[in-house]
């Protein structure tokens, strides 16, 4: 058993610190972000693969990079219990998912049903003329 010295107090206090910023974490985060950004960029720049596939791939790359930065830059999920920061973050993601996903669902449904494009309108009008 060692006695409490000022160094030990520092350690004790730092154990109450939810974040553990280390050079290793930042380097891992930085390098993988660069790699992910570059691959997304090259995929889009050279239009590699089919459009649907490409959209999916880019979205996945963005989500991976999001998680990487969340973990290595923003230190999410590295706190002690109760993991309030994590809970709040997950709740935010749920809300954003609902708002963005819900809005898109609703608005595309509405557009599809009540906001015909100019092209469609011309088609309808031509059809009326032919009647």
């Amino acid at each position: 058993m060692s006695s409490l010295t000022s160094e030990n107090i520092d350690i004790l206090v730092s154990q109450h610190q939810p974040e553990n910023a280390t050079l290793k974490n930042y380097v891992i985060g930085f390098v993988s972000s660069i790699v992910l950004t570059m691959s997304a960029y090259l995929l889009a720049y050279y239009h590699a693969g089919g459009r649907g596939l490409l959209f999916g791939l880019l979205a996945v790359l963005a989500l991976i990079q999001f998680s990487v930065q969340l973990i290595f830059f923003l230190h999410v999920g590295k706190e002690f219990s109760p993991r309030l920061k994590l809970i709040v973050t997950l709740f935010m993601m749920l809300v954003v998912l609902i708002i963005v996903g819900g809005s898109l669902w609703i608005m595309y449904n509405l557009n599809h049903r009540v906001m015909p494009s100019t092209k469609q309108m011309v088609q309808y009008m031509n059809r009326e003329d032919n009647l």
Binding site: L84, F91, M92, L94, V95, I98, I99, G102, S103, W105, I106, M107, N109, L110, N111, H112, R113, V114, M115
Partner: protein, 661 residues
């Protein structure tokens, strides 16, 4: 460039925007006279220094709470006077008669009523109550961020001033309380009314958002040792749910209003009818905020009812855990029902069906709560005081209104009832009975804790009965009128429709409600007059939670020694089972934030910014913004925002004020 220097200096502002017709002029005169009267009163009684030192610069949440409530009550009276005009107009504007208001003025008044009642009355009462009660119930000496808390209040205040200035110079938005485009776009609403509306809500909304974050963190992080989440009073749970909604729904409002403002001032095309805008997106976004907003208001009121029912039934709350789950189901579900506000906009049956079903489901947790309250009352030793009357009134009206809501959750039925008076009756029954009755009950329940005397019971009951009768008379006819096809915001209708008798009944109902309001002021005045006769002591209702363990009046540091909590309702078990002392241990030094006027300065900057954008005074807007930013930086440089009471000082004060139980 405009060569008229004066004109360009003042933007669009000019004398021709002063009001002209008699009703608006009298409103404007009121808005000028009331502040002047206040200033004269304060000067004559030499209270400026007192006001500034004790109230305006305070960071004490108990005092900030009182200021919220004072503003909310004043705004409530304005909202009520709008109602009187609306009901009078609708009762007499039939056939050849066109009533007392022009069509556009009528629309302004309807919009003012909705906006003011929701944003400045319901929200104000709620935040006032939260400020006063939450820190006490969780055994905290302060909120997590006291300065931010004061800033929130002053932003709320700045928003309130901005929207009331529109009575004196300019006009009120005539576009309903949520200002749907394209009507609210510059092309169709060219005056400043909508801009006032936008910036008032933007500023007050920023305050609400900051408050939401503040109390979320306060409840999660500042609870006294031993009070785990599942030992918290139910009011705090309601507030926690509500504040989570504030924090995650208000940003949507902020963005939506900003985009509308950009459309109006910079000529963007977000919600315009042409130019590639999409007005339906506005409706979608505003309700993605708007529906959670309803639950933001109601969850704390649910919390109040939980406290009241269990205290006056002298029983622990029935189904505590299910109450908590009900709150969190409501929180999550309230984010996935928003489309039921616009079933008729043209979405397909899959979309409408989904949101219809979700809307029906959200009624379930609410039902769980109602049953829990009833089971708490069951076999309780009832102490039948006025708050229980308000609860029972709430339970009845809320159930009627709730069932009307479930009815409208069925999309085909909503197609018949959308935007009709049926809807108006439904949501007034929810918000007035839920939120307002909850706040009334809370005032009777908690006021003695702060003032040391109880309110007169008999006058309180009179007020309750006047409210109940008046309320049912004012809104039951609206259900019928809704079925008969009367839509909302009608300033005139044909005599052949046969609606007039029902509108007259509704107007008489408002007379009863006014009686109820007057009775409340009489009750308050009489109770202050005879306060020596019904002194309350520190625990008038045999309370259960920590706030009742404190001496009355509550010292500014709340708890001299932090309470010792091992169970729910800790104070009740202390009194009735004995055992542990609530406050234990030695006295410790306490840090208290110093008073500061800077919160007021930040809000003043925001007000100047909002006002100059409304009137396009472009040189002034950056000055307002800079004032706020520089003040924030100045505040952040202050390394000693607190003063410290030493342990011995705390001990002395504690002996002076009377120690906690």
């Amino acid at each position: 460039m405009n060569l008229n220097v004066f004109g360009s200096l003042l933007g669009k502002l000019s004398f021709r925007y002063l009001p002209h017709d008699p009703i608006t002029v009298s409103g404007a005169i009121m808005m000028v006279l009331v502040p002047i009267a206040l200033v004269v009163f304060l000067t004559v009684t030499k209270r400026w220094k007192w006001l500034y030192k004790e109230w305006l610069t305070t960071l004490d949440p108990k005092r900030i709470g009182v200021m919220y409530i004072v503003v909310a009550v004043a705004m409530g009276l304005r909202g009520l006077s709008d109602v009187i005009l609306v009901r009078t107009q609708q009762a007499i504007s039939v056939g050849n008669s066109h009533g007392i208001l022009s069509a556009s003025h009528f629309q302004q008044i309807v919009s003012a009523h909705g906006t003011i009642m929701i944003f400045f009355v319901a929200m104000g009462l709620m935040f006032g109550m939260i400020n006063m009660i939450v820190p006490l119930q969780i055994g905290a000496r302060d909120v997590a961020f006291p300065f931010l808390n004061a800033t929130s209040f002053w932003l709320f205040f700045a928003g309130m001033v901005l929207i009331n200035i529109s009575l004196v110079i300019g006009d009120f938005s005539a576009t309903g309380w949520l200002a749907y485009p394209p009507l609210s776009e510059l092309k169709y609403s060219p005056t400043v009314g909508v801009d006032y509306w936008i910036w008032s809500l933007e500023i007050a909304g920023a305050g609400s958002l900051l408050s939401g974050i503040n109390f979320l963190v306060t409840i999660l992080k500042k609870r006294v040792k031993g009070m785990s989440l599942m030992k918290m009073p139910m009011f705090c749970w309601g507030v926690l749910g509500s504040m989570s909604l504030v924090a995650f729904a208000f940003p949507i409002l902020t963005i939506t209003l900003i985009l509308l403002s950009l459309d109006r001032t910079l000529g963007t095309h977000f919600f315009t009818a042409g130019g590639g805008g999409n007005m339906m997106m506005y409706v979608n976004l505003i309700w993605a905020w708007g529906h959670p907003e309803v639950y933001i208001l109601i969850l704390p009121a649910f919390g109040v009812f939980s406290e009241i029912v269990s205290t006056y039934a002298r029983k622990k709350l029935f189904g505590y855990t299910s109450m908590v789950w009900a709150i969190w189901s409501i929180v999550v579900l309230s984010f996935i029902v928003w489309l039921h506000h616009f079933f008729t906009m043209g979405a397909g049956s899959d979309v409408n069906g989904f949101f219809g079903i979700m809307t029906m489901i959200i009624a379930v947790p609410t039902g769980v709560k109602l049953f829990n309250w009833l089971f708490t009352l069951y076999k309780g030793k009832l102490n039948f005081k006025t708050p229980l009357y308000w609860f029972i009134g709430f339970a009845i009206i809320f159930t009627i209104g709730g069932m009307a809501g479930v009815l409208m959750a069925v999309p085909p039925i909503d197609f018949q009832l959308h935007n009709s008076l049926f809807l108006i009756a439904h949501f007034h029954m929810m918000i007035v009975s839920g939120v307002l009755f909850g706040d009334f009950a809370a005032i009777v329940y908690w006021l003695p804790k702060f003032t040391g005397f109880k309110l007169n019971e008999r006058l309180g009951r009179y007020s309750f009965w006047l409210w109940l009768v008046g309320f049912l008379m004012a809104f039951l006819p609206l259900y019928v009128l809704g079925f008969m096809g009367a839509t909302r915001r009608l300033d005139h209708y044909s005599a052949s429709l046969g609606w007039q008798p029902l509108f007259i009944v509704a107007a008489i109902g408002v007379v009863f409600i006014i009686g109820g309001v007057v009775m409340m002021f009489v009750q308050l005045g009489y109770s202050i007059w005879t306060r020596k006769k019904h002194l309350a002591g520190s625990d008038p209702w045999d309370g259960r939670t920590l706030e009742w363990s404190l001496p009355t009046p509550i010292p500014f540091y709340n708890f001299a020694r932090l309470p010792h909590v091992t169970s729910k309702d800790p104070f009740w078990y202390l009194k009735h089972r004995g055992g542990h002392k609530i406050a234990q241990g030695e006295y410790e030094p306490i840090e208290i934030p110093k008073n500061t006027p800077l919160a007021m300065v930040i809000a003043a900057g925001a007000f100047i910014f909002g006002f100059s954008i409304v009137w396009h005074i472009w040189w002034l807007a950056p000055i307002g913004l800079l004032t706020s930013i520089v003040t924030i930086i100045v505040r952040s440089m202050d390394e000693h925002p607190n003063f410290v009471l030493s342990a011995s000082e705390v001990k002395q004060l504690d002996e002076k004020y009377g120690s906690a139980a």
